[in-house]
Amino acid sequence: MSRPAVLAARLRTAAWLGWQIEANWADPFTFIVYSAVRPLATALILAVMYRAVAGIASSGQAFLGFYVANAFHEYVIRVLVGMGWVIVEEREEFETLKFVYTSPIGMFTYLWGRSSVKFVQASLSLLLILTTGWLILGLRWDWGAVRWLPLLLSFVLGLIAIVYFGFFVAGWALVLPRAAISVNEGVAAALTLLCGVIFPIDLLPRAVQVVAMLLPFTWWYEALRRFLIGHGASARLSSFSDGALLAALAVSTALFSCVSVWGYGVLERRARQNGKLDQARLF
């Protein structure tokens, strides 16, 4: 079998396993409801917060930008957190990580495959949140003004950053048994704050803004807003031209991905050195 065929087969196996683990506990209807409830609740929290202050002082356009970015944040929550969760689940609940690790499938391929179901879930959540916003909350934008090519390009770049950062998070999960679950969740919460998902990064202290601008996700949310609804959220980032914005996203994604792969390698070696790869203590 050729190398790509082997890779495809391994990815398929990991994806199949991911789906089985993710969905086998419920019938499809329950599973869909379960998958929809959390993202919908988060979107509704934002909507009611907005409504609560709508009559007092607020900007509908600004809120639309936050709402849209929050919808795309589903990829971070599902895929990135999910990749760390795979480690926790495999090692501490099913106690199968050691078998996966010692098999020829390779952890990157395996994590990539396992997280594919999370990608599908995140995409459905995105659609659900945007549809709810459009139909129920009246959050609308001009489809004619959408710039599809840069939108698609920035979307793909962001996904690459998420997947590679997912490896890094998985690496942390390897060295932090017990705490790994919360670290995964915490990374998503930290990125919400640092990358200005539901507010402009201009509100962060200056030093934190610098950190935010090193992260590809900050550029990602800004690019998605600009190319989908026509405006960003941050005054500081609005000074960047479209090209500069995409370039910043591309460069930070590349750097971030390299750092993530290196970081995963370091953490994996440390886990192996400290005997954490088969440490099943949580459950």
Binding site: W25, A26, Y34, V37, R38, A41, T42, L44, I45, L46, V48, M49, Y50, R51, A52, V53, I56, A57, S58, S59, A62, F63, F66, E93, L176, R178, A179, I181, S182, V183, E185, G186, A189, A190, T192, L193, V197, I198, F199, P200, L203, L204, A233, L282, F283
Partner: protein
């Protein structure tokens, strides 16, 4: 404390008080020994809270809304503890083989759950200090001086009702196993929403009223906001009414927890699921 029995073994009250303290002790010492838990229980909820405060700031909302969000964020840590530290706990205990040791012990199961709850409240309160520091320190949110005694009363009643619900959820895990874990997972954010943690409860209208009758978090947060912020809390019902409803909910949940635990234990013993790790 009740005297020893004729057979030299401790009486029921002594037995159950010691069991409660034994189980609580795990969380009391654990709260200091597991620094990583501080991240999950304090730092990360505080990060979410900070995001919501900054959203209000971005929307140009009055500063009192930021106070609402900070108080909601603090109470969110308790809800997370109720879900994962109470509801999911018996599931973890089963997976680790601990549950069967509880079920062959002579103490009442409620004493174990009470120990878990008291330990959880202690642990979460130490964590909540971090959220208070972030909210009122880093983010610069301010509140006027307020009366401490009514706040303590509302807090105690809210915690009793909330952890009573947690005990009820815990027993459900014996029945639903892994599925219930997913239910817990699915309940976290929706309850944040239905309890109005980051906005005034009354903004939910009738939906908030229905939710408040089921999950005591919303009423508790609303009452605490009213005590601390006064009219700026944009309260839903008068504090007295909310406390009375919470007290009723507390009694109902404690009775429900005891009954459901007994029922589910019997059911599990009939079906042989009590000590089965994988299901």
């Amino acid at each position: 404390m009740s005297p020893a029995r004729a057979d030299g073994r401790p009486g029921d009250l002594a037995l159950n008080l010691r069991a409660t303290w034994g189980r609580m002790y795990v969380r009391v010492v654990g709260s200091a020994r597991e620094p990583t838990w501080i991240m999950s229980d304090a730092v990360f909820p505080a990060l979410s809270m900070a995001s919501f405060v900054l959203l209000y700031r971005a929307l140009g909302a009055p500063r009192s809304f930021e106070s609402l969000a900070v108080l909601g964020g603090i109470m969110a840590t308790y809800w997370i503890n109720v879900l994962w530290g109470m509801g999911a706990q018996l599931y973890w205990e089963k997976q680790s083989g601990q549950l069967q040791l509880y079920f062959i012990a002579p103490c009442s199961r409620m004493s174990i759950l009470t120990g878990m709850a008291l330990g959880g409240i202690f642990m979460t309160t130490t964590r909540a200090i971090f959220s208070i520091a972030v909210g009122f320190g880093l983010l610069g949110v301010r509140v006027a001086p307020f009366a401490l005694a009514p706040l303590l009363l509302v807090f105690v009643v809210t915690m009793t009702a909330l952890y009573g619900l947690g005990m009820t959820l815990a027993s459900l895990f014996l029945l639903y196993g892994r599925e219930a874990w997913h239910v817990c997972n699915a309940l976290q954010e929706p309850v944040f929403f239905l309890s109005g943690l980051y906005f005034p409860l009354r903004a939910l209208g009738a939906l908030g009223a229905v939710a408040a009758g089921i999950v005591p978090l919303g009423l508790g947060v609303d009452a605490m906001r009213q005590v601390i912020l006064g009219p700026a809390a944009r309260g839903w019902l008068p504090v007295r009414v909310e406390v009375a409803i919470l007290a009723v909910l507390a009694v109902v949940f404690l009775i429900l927890a005891r009954a459901s635990l007994r029922y589910l234990e019997a059911l599990s013993k009939r079906e042989g699921r009590l000590t089965q790790r994988w299901q």
